[in-house]
Symmetry: C2
Subunit: 112 residues, 2 copies
């Protein structure tokens, strides 16, 4: 969202979206830190920092020396957590902002 958002958080969001969308299915191995770093033009440690988030939440399983794998149910758990957080903290603010600007979500629902 914010263009000034730290790289490791942007990567984290991007990977989370990929997991939810099934780009990285359950049981699949995530790209190695070095591979993703090269592909994204980032530093391997920055990628590792992004991956760290998912380890803490138990969404990926680390096999040291092999790779990191998406655990079973990760997509559902991730979607549920993101949805809860979105509805709880972001949506109320968005709604109040839209109200202030004279906008109604229902009017914008069909097309952008």
């Amino acid at each position: 969202m914010n263009p000034n958002r730290p790289v490791y958080l942007k990567l984290r969001d991007q990977i989370a979206a990929a997991i939810i969308d099934g780009v990285y299915p359950e049981g699949a191995m995530l790209p190695s830190v070095r591979a993703l770093a090269a592909e994204q033009g980032a530093n391997p440690l920055t990628v590792a920092k992004a991956y760290q988030q998912f380890q803490n939440d138990g969404l990926v399983e680390v096999q040291r020396g092999v790779g990191m794998y998406v655990v079973r149910g990760a997509a559902d758990r991730l979607r549920a957590a993101e949805r809860e957080a979105f509805l709880r903290v972001e949506w109320p603010e968005i709604r109040s902002r839209m109200a202030r600007l004279g906008l109604d979500p229902a009017d914008l629902a069909p097309a952008s």
Copy 2:
């Protein structure tokens, strides 16, 4: 929104909302940097940095040594600008995120 959002931007948003809502009517003087700083527990320079944004956009008129005043039409111009920016950059991202999370704006429209 983001708790890590810089103070000067949070103040800026808060002031913009106040102008749109008519808390600071056109022609009225904004609180002095020192007064608002004391009230918000911030540094006067941080408040000045927030005010700076509105000066650049010509929404307030600075009378050095006197104070800063809301210009005529500032509320409308501000609302129009914020609405345009919201629809152009934020709303598309919000919609795609909600789609990924399986949410529909129309369902959340009536109550929060």
